[in-house]
Symmetry: C2
Subunit: 217 residues, 2 copies
DNA sequence: CATTGTGAACGGATTCACAGCC
DNA sequence: GGCTGTGAATCCGTTCACAATG
């Protein structure tokens, strides 16, 4: 019995859930209230089988012969991701990127709340975003432990990143969206997703030069 | 013979090349001029075998019994990625995110040059970045075709993204780093990498709630 | 009879294991 | 002896094919 219960959901599946959620939101806005895996496939570009398999990781949400109830499926996915309850996040590093990301998130999603931003540079301690305070790093433990924040977005320079991460982990952060171009060392229970813009851009450049020596050949 | 020459490099490999490059740069700065796959493994977190396999896609760059010459390997990877020659890129959508990304890139890399930014909103047509002009979208064809730009960073709102992409492709763009939260339709010769911050954040939230109903079980 | 849910087959990437070479 | 380069074995996610079912 333990064998079965140890099934871990692949990361690839978790990455697709938010896509489904977005499509379902769009469909609901258009009053589409039954949806087949085939239509979801058209909207997302994933295969219908893959979508059904993805959903099957979490339960049987559909009706054979009919499809999925849009609203019901949406509720289920919200719940699976954890968006059925408010999530507090912090932004560490309030330079241009941190600033842009804060705005981006604030505006996107009612379930997600940026509760504070942090920066070491006194020049950056001012926020032009309504309801957002920017604090020096010393205040981080108080805010994170006090409000039980679990999620952090990290946009500090590479050479400060590890020190900041240690501080985050110490204070109970369990998931980090890392924009600093460096490998972070964390305990295995902490989840780190790296979004490295330099890497993305450089792989893009690789692909931009089609039919060059290495590519086709 | 055709069978052999059709070998395509896996995307996963291409994504790791810039990581190697960064490590090699760091090592060179510390005057380390011979490097083994084992040490590269320690620095990157990838296995030594994987690193050797990755490099082997492009040739045999090492010396058995010794390792790789740091500077030589760096040159090779630069060349493979296409960073041995100047690359021109444009940023389309000059809101907070576009702005931050432009700064980010300008500052990172001598081989990569943001030649212009574009936005539809007259309010955003001013740049505070040295040497960078922000133009209305009508000017895009002239700049892109004229300067033979192949790479674009896209940070426009989701509902404008497809129209802008069509314009980009029409004018010769072959690689797009897309931050708009929507599926883009492009001819198969165009490479699109999606960086969807909402998706990243939502998967992060999934992982932040460890030992919840769906996760371990 | 359309569509879900799922075991089985497949394929691509990683890891293993070792032969080749300095 | 140490480290690269690589075929073989393995792992894991995707696709296939179909049984189950409203």
């Amino acid at each position: 019995m333990k064998e079965l219960s140890r099934r871990k959901t692949p990361k690839t599946v978790v990455k697709r859930l938010p896509v489904y959620l977005r499509i379902l939101d769009n469909l609901l806005r258009r009053d589409v209230d039954i949806i087949s895996s085939r239509v979801l496939s058209d909207e997302t570009g994933f295969t219908a089988e893959q979508i059904r398999k993805d959903l099957a990781y979490f339960g049987a949400f559909g009706t054979r012969g009919t499809g999925y109830n849009t609203g019901y499926l949406r509720e289920k996915i919200l719940r699976i991701i954890g968006l059925d309850k408010q999530t507090k996040i912090i932004v560490v590093g309030f330079g241009h990127l941190g600033h842009a990301l804060t705005r981006y998130n604030v505006y996107q999603n009612p379930y997600v709340e940026v509760v504070a931003a942090f920066d070491n540079d006194p020049a950056k301690l001012h926020s032009d975003i309504e309801g957002l305070e920017v604090y020096p790093l010393e205040k981080l433990p108080e805010v994170v432990s006090g409000q039980k924040v679990k999620v952090a977005i990290l946009t500090v320079p590479a050479d400060e990143a590890q020190k900041v991460v240690d501080l985050l982990v110490e204070n109970g952060i369990t998931a980090i969206l890392n924009f600093a171009p460096t490998k972070l060392h964390v305990p295995e229970y902490v989840y780190v997703h790296n979004t490295d813009l330099t890497i993305e851009l450089q792989s893009l450049i690789y692909y931009s030069q089609e039919d060059e020596k290495y590519h086709q050949q």
